[in-house]
């Protein structure tokens, strides 16, 4: 993180590279899905990287990785790198999505059907 004052585009690869300190998200961190629910375990600290602090603020209640990506305006792969940092420090909890081997089980299907019927 040496470059400063550079006038770069918000979504540029260079900016994202700096936020993740060059990590791609493909090898690091936990296996996170778009619908893994994230919940903060601690409050943001002033010395934190702003993106880390923002995640802790947003996740006081459960929020999916997809929603985090949307609210932070960062690609999914970048958010997974940032979450990997917070998970390693035990600052957030990841509630894994329901794992489906091949087909979802009947109880889960019935629960979704009941939920949709109330829509």
């Amino acid at each position: 993180m040496t470059d400063e004052g550079q006038d770069w585009d918000e979504g540029s690869p260079e900016r994202l590279y700096v936020i993740t300190r060059g990590r791609s998200g493909r090898s690091e961190g936990a296996a996170l899905d778009l619908v893994t629910l994230i919940v903060s375990r601690s409050e943001p600290q002033p010395e934190m990287q702003p993106e880390h602090a923002a995640i802790l603020r947003l996740c006081r209640f459960p929020l999916s990785v997809a929603e985090l990506s949307a609210y932070l305006g960062l690609p999914f792969s970048v958010v997974t790198v940032l979450l990997g940092d917070l998970l390693a420090e035990d600052r957030v909890q990841a509630r894994a999505p329901v794992l489906l081997a091949q087909l979802p089980d009947v109880a889960l299907i019935e629960a979704v059907i009941h939920g949709l019927q109330r829509l």
């Binding site: 690869p13 619908v35 949307a70 690609p75 999914f76 509630r95 329901v98 979704v112 059907i113 949709l116």
Partner: protein, 213 residues
């Protein structure tokens, strides 16, 4: 909107009424696949409890012969946006709906997206069937359970569903329904069709193993 170059003003966070309860412990997802302008976001928005949000993924194209891992990589990035919505099923379970473009050049998005997904809805515009044809082939290859929904655009010629089924070479056991993606009840019926199809598959032991091999 499937494609864009710059960030719109993203909301700072969920509105208070959009916050999930602390009891939410697990989430599932359904993927809506279709070509540009077929109504994916409209369908997501019609049934979602939150205003559709956008997540994006960047696809980096390394320059030919360039693989500079030492410094800032000189790559061009294509940003592909996926709109999504959410339906709380009960206090613990949340359903997310993702709209994703069907064209082959976006299939790189599908890996993480379809992992663990309940299934897919192929949203079809009868004026452009080719995209759907490729999508259906790809879903069958991946073993993803899906249903087909034909979005009835105002003014578009109406085709009997049997004709669309034949044109798409759709297997008999795959449900096909007509819908109006703008209407919540119609969108819900499409999702229910998928869930009932999944139910049937779950109740049928080893339904299509041989077909998939």
């Amino acid at each position: 909107m499937d494609f864009r170059g710059s960030d719109p003003a993203a909301p700072a966070g969920p509105r208070s009424e959009d916050v999930l309860p602390s009891s939410a412990t697990a989430a599932v997802k359904i993927v809506i696949v279709g070509g540009f302008g077929v109504g994916k976001t409209t369908l997501v928005g019609a049934v979602s409890e939150i205003r559709p949000l956008t997540t994006e993924e960047t696809m980096t194209h390394a320059g030919v012969g360039v693989d500079d891992t030492a410094g800032v990589e000189r790559k061009t990035a294509t940003t592909v946006a996926m709109d999504f919505g959410r339906i709380s099923i009960n206090d613990e379970l949340v359903l997310y709906l993702f709209g994703t473009p069907g064209q082959q050049r976006f299939w790189f998005l599908w890996n993480g997206l379809f992992d663990g997904a309940l299934g897919a809805v192929v949203l079809v515009d009868t004026r452009r069937l080719e995209v759907s044809f490729d999508v259906i082939g790809r879903l069958e290859e991946r073993g993803v359970a899906f249903v087909v929904a034909v979005n009835a655009f105002p003014g578009a010629p109406r085709h009997p569903l049997q004709e669309v089924r034949a044109a798409l070479d759709l297997p008999d056991h795959v449900p096909i329904v007509a819908c109006d993606a703008r209407r919540r009840d119609s969108g819900r019926d499409v999702l229910m069709t998928l869930m009932r199809h999944l139910y049937t598959l779950a109740m049928t032991p080893e339904p299509t193993t041989l077909e998939r091999l």
